[in-house]
């Protein structure tokens, strides 16, 4: 049981670090909050027309104008899976928060390298695999908690988010977080400098977010984006979380909550295996 002890030790450390820096929790939800408020409310009113544009030549008969307004309204509703844009986007932001958080938690491995704590874990006699797993799970718990905060905040902006289904949504967020934390860990173990790592993070995260259906449906994307979206694990967690939180079902025809979970779990298992393998081989090579 020595290994399990080490697992909980490292997990405890990640949670304790987060708890000790809880004033910074505000910072971690501030960024998604800005997206939610400004993009959500800003675009939301465009996709939900209050008045119809006057088209020259169109007779201004009240019935026609209403029909016109309804047609536009329905078109967008259908695009967003039967919910308003703000509900559509907010449910995506929940996933984006966890995704960004988990990917960036890989940075803490680089910090540990720089501040030396990594050496402390490298000389420990416990199995390396369990040490890195404890760290990944600890970080994933933290990022999942952050996305939970976003679910709660979303209540202020829309009433279309069903908080009762949160436990289901959280399952997907947690599985995805483990996958991306592992990926971040692998990258930061491979990169020797903070600068190189930051660059990769920036080059990867935003495009992945844009090609996952957080801000617009994957189905209306150009074909090449569409293809990337299909291999982007984030797409499946966005779809599933959106489905559980709002009931909106916007995705490729083969996507449902079961296939989403299967695809996400496979991704996560592969990433964990990779992280364990890389960490087991880590030395202090100059």
């Amino acid at each position: 049981m020595n290994g399990f002890n080490a697992f909980t030790a490292v997990m405890y450390r990640q949670l304790k670090r987060w708890w000790n820096a809880r004033s910074r929790v505000l910072m971690t939800v501030l960024n998604p909050l800005i997206w939610m408020v400004f993009l959500g409310l800003g675009w939301g009113s465009i996709f939900n027309p209050q008045n119809t544009p006057m088209v020259p030549g169109l007779p201004s008969i009240p019935g026609v104008i209403d029909a016109f307004k309804n047609a536009i309204d329905n078109y967008f509703k259908q695009l967003f899976g039967g919910v308003s844009y703000i509900a559509f986007m907010v449910s995506g932001i929940v996933v984006m928060t966890a995704f960004m958080g988990s990917f960036i938690s890989g940075i803490s491995v680089i910090w540990d390298k720089q501040f030396g704590f990594l050496k402390e874990t490298l000389v420990a006699p416990a199995p390396r695999g369990l040490i890195i797993l404890g760290r990944i799970i600890g970080d994933s718990i933290v990022t999942t908690l952050q996305s939970l905060i976003i679910v709660l905040l979303s209540q202020v902006l829309t009433n279309e988010v069903n908080v009762l289904n949160t436990p289901f949504a959280v399952l997907y967020v947690f599985v995805m977080s483990i996958g991306f934390t592992s990926l971040g860990t692998v990258l930061s173990l491979k990169f020797s400098s903070m600068e190189g790592f930051q660059m990769v993070v920036n080059l990867l995260t935003m495009p992945l977010v844009f090609m996952s259906g957080v801000f617009y449906p994957v189905t209306t994307m150009p074909d090449w984006m569409n293809m990337i979206a299909k291999v982007n694990p984030l797409t499946y967690s966005v779809h599933a979380v959106r489905y559980w939180l709002t009931g909106s079902n916007t995705g490729f025809e083969y996507m449902n909550s079961t296939t989403d979970l299967l695809i996400l779990s496979s991704f996560t298992v592969v990433m964990i295996a990779l992280a364990v393998k890389v960490f087991e081989k880590t030395t202090l090579e100059d």
Partner: protein, 329 residues
């Protein structure tokens, strides 16, 4: 088995440089063994190989009978290490740093708590146990690291430059702990240092390292007597009636008249020869106005072995030393 650490013909090559080039030594139980040498001599690389953090290019390292390259987990269980660079989590308290270390080494519960408090007490950090490490001073961090490395009761304690960058008080304190651990806990200690006084004060045996090789090994006394000679300086008052004062001291190895009538006598053991010097001078009617002798220090030994002063090599650091540690898998 009295040999706790056996290092045989250790070689470590990095892509562009050979950091350790055929190093061999043994460390006996309850011995303090110091690797002394300038930065870039290969001391830290040697220690990292012993601590299973680097794989040797060739050669063998046994710790308590286990091969460091083949059975790293067995070795890790038996060593406690304080790295040259800090390895604490600054955002956690001293207590939490200890607690996590204890759990990593399989300790738990009330026993762990009790041990943490006892060790924090030993290094006088009990009252700061629940302060975050980021508020600790350099000396406090070092002491915490030493306490941490003792938590799992290692068979051998490895200290890499334990007092580097510390003020004299903190240094003296760390020296006291090291002496205490050797004396009261029969601890086997392997340390590196580039301070001659530190090696001399603490170590039972010293290996002088330079450019990846061990140049000489032995106790401080043995190393110094390698030069075989003490130097006695004698100033004589009434020298004018004796043209060759050296003839009086025909029992020394070498005698040279320096400017201002001072004599430099090279002897094998100054403490024993001083009375004879006085006797001979009195018999010859010479009046000694001043006498002093100098024992060779480790610096002279290093100078003798490498042709340069240890102090000099500290100031003109070789290329290897200040390069930041790069990481790969």
């Amino acid at each position: 088995m009295s040999e706790v650490v056996v290092v045989e013909n250790l070689v470590k090559k990095f892509s562009d440089v050979t950091a350790v080039n055929g190093v061999s030594f043994n460390i006996k139980r309850n011995e303090v063994f110091a690797l002394l040498g300038p930065n870039g001599a290969g001391k830290t690389t040697t220690i990292h190989i012993i601590a299973t953090l680097l794989k040797p290019t060739s050669g063998r390292v046994l710790v308590a009978g286990f091969d460091a390259a083949r059975k790293p987990e067995e070795v890790r269980k038996r060593i406690g290490i304080v790295f040259q660079d800090p390895s604490l989590d600054n955002q956690l308290t001293g207590y939490d740093n200890m607690y996590i270390h204890g759990k990593l080494y399989g300790l738990k519960g009330a026993g762990l708590h009790e041990k943490i408090m006892r060790l924090l007490d030993l290094v006088d950090l009990k009252e700061f146990a629940f302060k975050k490490v980021m508020h600790y001073s350099g000396g406090m961090r070092r002491r915490l690291e030493i306490a941490r490395s003792l938590l799992h009761e290692p068979e051998i304690l490895i200290l890499d430059e334990p007092t580097i960058g510390l003020d004299p008080q903190s240094r003296a304190r760390i020296w006291d702990y090291i002496k205490y651990l050797k004396k009261e806990h029969d601890m086997t200690i392997l340390m590196t240092t580039h301070y001659m006084d530190e090696a001399e004060e603490l170590a039972d045996r010293i290996a002088i390292m330079d450019k990846g090789r061990i140049l000489a090994m032995g106790s401080a006394e043995e190393l110094k007597s390698m030069l075989g000679q003490d130097v006695v300086y004698v100033a004589i008052k009434n020298n004018q009636d004796n043209n060759n004062p050296c003839s009086v001291f025909n029992f020394v190895k070498e005698c040279k008249e320096l400017r201002s009538g001072r004599l430099e006598l090279i002897v094998s053991n100054a403490t024993k020869i001083l009375p004879e010097v006085f006797n001979a001078a009195e018999l010859a009617g010479l009046k000694i106005s001043e006498i002093s002798y100098r024992r060779p220090t480790l610096n002279e030994v290093f100078l003798h072995l490498t042709g340069r002063e240890l102090r000099d090599s500290l100031e003109n650091q070789p290329v290897l030393s200040r390069r930041p540690v790069r990481w790969a898998r």
